[in-house]
Symmetry: C2
Subunit: 203 residues, 2 copies
DNA sequence: TCCGTAGTTGAACGATTGCTCACAAAAATA
DNA sequence: TATTTTTGTGAGCAATCGTTCAACTACGGA
């Protein structure tokens, strides 16, 4: 039934997410996309409908592959949860072979005010990271690596914000020493959020 | 000699920075700019050269007026520095009359990878915020509100990252309770970064 | 009052945008 | 082999992009 598809969807989505992370949604033209993915407009519109469709497919793939992959490797699997959290932060700074730093999720969160449909994907990815932190913190507490009354949920949200902030500073091009200092601070601050005896008695 | 300028430069830059914060540099067309500022293309190009020139003028004005104004009011002037830091964070969440949240500095830091010329302005603004944190923390330490061996520089960088992360989460549209939780965590984490006896003996 | 100068206006330019579609190429079915 | 069905190709569309510029308007000095 018909001709075989000549291109691999995973490869196309991988180049697309790289391009969108580098240039942003609005900054990536269809000519850029054609050059990056090798896909001609016809095939692209046949498969993804329009530019929006490709972007959302790329964002979903980024969540499933990159984000959840990193969460698993650094936050869910390591035997030493705090060391995992540290490497999760460090790996955002030391991008290695990848020439351009940053995170499609962070960039889209900032740009998504113009793209309301992207908000769901952003929430999903952020929740995955926050959940990973919460899992690692829970395990760290059981191991006795944190105070026993650690407020896991609050600390997870705290680390999520810190991580997103680190990615902003990475993208801004701040020096490595500053960025590693932020990582050190993230780890050092983990013990400081305890569950209060009474809630809502501040102010 | 010659005709008087009919428009106020401060007002034009104020509308421009509002538009750029909302839509981003690439997302704001010159027709949008014309509508937002009331400036026709001729006047715009006579005064600012091109779209880039207007953007950098708006970013500089944002740094000088909004950022430094907020730093002064919340971080430099308050008699209670820690309360000032808290209100600095809170005011980023409770935008009040302004309908669209976020910060032009954060957004530009993320987008600026495509706009290398904007990097200097971003660095300048980030340094102003970090400096404000450092000033407030130093005063808090002298008042005895923090541990005496607080690592002021590291904590200032820590708060800068946390603040940028908060602005990403604000932009992503996370619920207010989560965002206020981040603020609480920021304040609670301040005491946790002390100056080590020996430096560089980690790892 | 007339002229030189600075500022305003908006039509219009070439380039680029997201997107369409007629046609060619390959695989499955007959 | 002929036909049907799916996919690849890329020229080209209308719309919009950033930008220019010639005509016009107001003000100061002579």
């Amino acid at each position: 039934m018909g001709r075989k598809q000549l291109w691999d969807q995973d490869e196309v989505l991988a180049s697309a997410m790289r391009l969108f992370r580098h240039r942003g949604y609005q900054g990536a033209s269809l000519r850029d996309i054609e050059e990056a993915t090798g896909l001609h407009p016809g095939s692209l519109y046949r498969t993804f409908g329009n530019k929006d469709g490709l972007f959302h497919a790329a964002l979903d793939a980024y969540n499933e592959r990159v984000v959840q992959g990193r969460v698993r490797v650094h936050l869910l699997e390591p035997a030493d949860p705090l060391a995992g959290i540290r490497s999760f932060f460090t790996s955002a700074v030391e991008t290695g072979a990848e020439p351009d730093p940053g995170c499609l999720l962070t960039n889209t969160a900032v740009e998504s005010f113009t793209l309301p449909r992207a908000a769901a994907g952003v929430h999903h990815g952020l929740a995955a990271i926050e959940g990973g932190f919460a899992d690692a913190l829970t395990r760290a507490r059981h191991r006795g690596d944190t105070p026993p009354d650690l407020d896991v949920a609050a600390t997870a949200a705290h680390l999520l914000a810190l991580y997103q902030g680190l990615l902003v500073l990475v993208r801004a091009g701040l020096p490595r020493t500053t960025l590693h200092g932020v990582t050190d601070g993230a780890i050092a601050s983990i013990g400081s959020l305890r569950t209060p005896r009474k809630q809502d008695d501040h102010e």
